[in-house]
Amino acid sequence: MSNEHHDLAIVGAGPAGMAAAVTAAELGLDTVVLDEQQAPGGQIYRNIEALERGGHIEKLGDDYRRGAELAGALRASTATYCPGSVVWQTSPDGRIGLTGPDGARMVHARRILLATGAMERPVPIPGWTLPGVMGVGAAQTLFKASDIVPNVPVVIAGSGPLIYLVALQLARAGCTIAALLVTTPASRIASALKELPRALLAGRNLLKGVGWVQEVRRLGIPLANGVSGLRIDGKDRAEGISYEADGSRHRLAAGLVLLHEGVIPDNQLSLSTRCQQIWDAAQLCWRPATDEWGATSEERIAIAGDGAGILGALAAENLGRLAALDTAFRLDCIDQAERDRRARPERAALARHKRIRPLLDRLFQPAAESLLPTDPDTIICRCEEVTVAQMREAVHLGGEDPNRAKIFTRCGMGPCQGRMCGPTVASLIAHETGRTMAAVGTYRIRVPVRPIPLMTLAGLIGEEEGLPPGESTL
């Protein structure tokens, strides 16, 4: 049986993946798009085709129309779109392991583009493991993908533009928003104003954000600014949330608490493929090192979109197309001059989208308590239930890098493989040892990055082809 081969395999069908696929296919590359979801759109434009078909895009806002256009272009292109395809391995040699609707198989690609997007930053506060505590983005996913909304009073806590947007989307859908607790400190606003002049050049986006805040006030959603000391209580599920504001402690009853402290790159595949990572001090996250075309330290692997650093959905499109152009160049479909010529409008648009970023990064920096939890009993590893105190103890046994700390505590060894504790572990170690995040480093991530049932692996389709033997007996 011969293996499945492509010129380019794209992992993810958000704005970066869709735009890259359309461009790559247009340039004549045999392109396959491997998407975990059932339909194109990624998380930002989740379920966009069905929403458009049903005439429901307006419930999300006009910006989402762009997603429908991209999905339409992807469908019209010659790229092969594979929905429901969960990628669990990308190899530096271009092999990809995935589980699709028909089981597990290996796909061979001359080049791989990771367009895995972003994930919500974990917010490790007391009580965050209780049922009824979710990400703001998680609630938005339920709303976008399934038309499901909360039917209990909701408290939204954290920072970033998304908290206002989701508060509005849910309120318009008839939900009760008990409060919007904003962790952005008042002092931050003054310091972020330095970035305002450049951000104003981004025009519409900034005004949109200001509009959301005004709308929240107009709808009478209770809003508290500069809150800290968030703590969720409840026995078997969230019952309330307490916090400090204006020098005193408050408590609100809540059946559902939605947390959000911004998004970070989903770099699990790039980590497992050993793409070099760098600590981004402005965005306070790890991201894979990429050049202006999205190329990584691994010859065959490129990354586009928020998976390489948070720049948003519109920038992701430009980055996707730039990566596709470079792929076409490297595979001899176009020459360098053509690549550079076609790249020019993408770079110009990208520069525009980037203008607002320093303001957003500064203004919506995650709350200090979510980056470095101090309460000793707070769980940092949800899977193995490792607490702040246990992690501190491990650091003093010599767990001075995340991989050794993992050994002592099992932190990061559970099913999520460090997705939810990785950033916290690194920052606790950095704090305890007085070193920088860059010096502390990240977890090594093992394949499969998503679990595979044993019997699915036993039925894997794909033969060994040109692989080194795995042993040498010289």
Partner: protein, 95 residues
């Protein structure tokens, strides 16, 4: 904790711990269970504390359930199908 904004046009029936649950076609097992009122999906591995979906996009692994006899499936990434059997994961042996 959740309700549907609109009644879905097409639906399927899945069974959660033997109990029939009406789900919209094409939605995730996690969405169907949440809207059906399940607040706990599994017991955590160490302390057997109740857990439920947190991220809804496949990163937190809190929604692990047994689907058609296969344990540890991510309910948020699995689409419902008619007659599917889902079992919430009870306490597993701790260390």
């Amino acid at each position: 904790m959740f309700r549907r904004s609109h009644t879905p046009s097409a639906g399927v029936v899945i069974y959660v711990d033997g109990k029939p649950v009406h789900a919209a076609a094409e939605e995730s097992v996690a969405a169907a269970m949440l809207v059906a009122g399940f607040t706990s999906f599994r017991a955590s591995a160490v302390s057997a504390a109740p857990r439920a979906p947190h991220c809804m996009i496949g990163n937190c692994f809190e929604c692990l359930v047994e689907i058609n006899g296969q344990p540890d499936r991510q309910a948020c990434l699995t689409i419902v199908s008619d007659g599917m059997h889902v079992r919430r994961q009870a306490e597993e042996p701790g260390p």
